[in-house]
Amino acid sequence: MTVHDIISALGLEVVAGADGLDKPITGGYASDLLSCVMAKASAGNAWITLQSHVNVVAVASLLNLACVIITEGMRPDDEMVERANENGIPTLLTPHSTYRVVGELVRLGISG
């Protein structure tokens, strides 16, 4: 399963990092606390959060995450979009809640 596959399955909007859509997804992690993500998320994970600022990109790129899914209709600022493009971090948006997105990903076979 690649980032591209979950974009079509969940109807996500791609706002940045379009050149990383072929990355395989190894699992998922959901949290809005950056330190929790730093401690627990693994390389290749999809990270589901409602944080939407540049530091999200820093965490995602340090951990080599596959993508960031920003929930609840939050939109990243220009700096985050720019940094995500620079670092090739696919940044995907959805109006739905974190709970619902995680549920859909699990149904697709992506576990924690």
């Binding site: 050149d19 330190s35 730093m38 401690a39």
Partner: protein
Amino acid sequence: MSQTPAELTRVQELIYELTIAQVMTRSVTTVTPDCTIRDLKELLRTKRISGVPVMQDGVMVGMISIENVIRALEYGELDATVGAKMTREVQSVRADDTVVSAVNLFARLGFGRFPVVDADGNLVGILTQGDIVRGLLRQMEVQWHAEEIQRYRASHIFEDIESDQTGLILRYFVKPQDFMHGGEASSKLKRALERLGAHPRIVRRVAVATYEAETNVMIHSHGGEIIAEVRPQRMRLTVVDTGPGIENIEKAMQPGYSTAPDWIRELGFGAGMGLNNIKACADEMKLNSEVGVGTRLELTFSLQ
């Protein structure tokens, strides 16, 4: 031949970056309008090309291609002149345009080649789909080699330089409250370790610890710096700031304890996990702090 999505994506990027001038063929074979189709046929055959611009007194007046030759053969018009059979309305491309604009034109118009002109309309080259493919392959190879060379150079530093003890010192400055550049020092250090050939698992531990230390300095201090001393077997990371210092280190080490203000917590920081994350990632950790003076964090990592 099947292509992986990664290769496709790289190609897609490159067609936006490369200019037509970078991939076109510069030495252009041309003919004059009074050349016969018979001579043109020989020219195309010996040069193994399928079309040429028609030039008169240094000005491009048309294009003529193998299709015109075939039609002339069909109607027995091999002695006709190029000038009589050429396409007069020439679609050219600009040398400084990106390759993607030419790719779109090839797809839309179905032509085999486009003459390439400069800003003043002078013919400077010719572009076929083959030129584009060759140019892309060349560029991909160049970029791959550049990264390989950088990796090679970096990973051989320790072997190439002789001393009783060789170390590489990397310093990164961290500004207070500079959230726009949060994590940059960690990212740079991570990339450096990757280039030096450190194991991905160790790179991750160093990256996590450095990031937590960097954000601590950014959030809580008046500014500071991160100094990484990389040796072949191990690395030492020293993070120092100029205050205000930690009042109670024991408390600060407790999971979940945080002194970060609400607005910083709203950004997802200040979970009270940072120092614990650092401790979990480093092989050794030493934390000293004096209120009003500053904080000094020393970490060591085995690079084996």
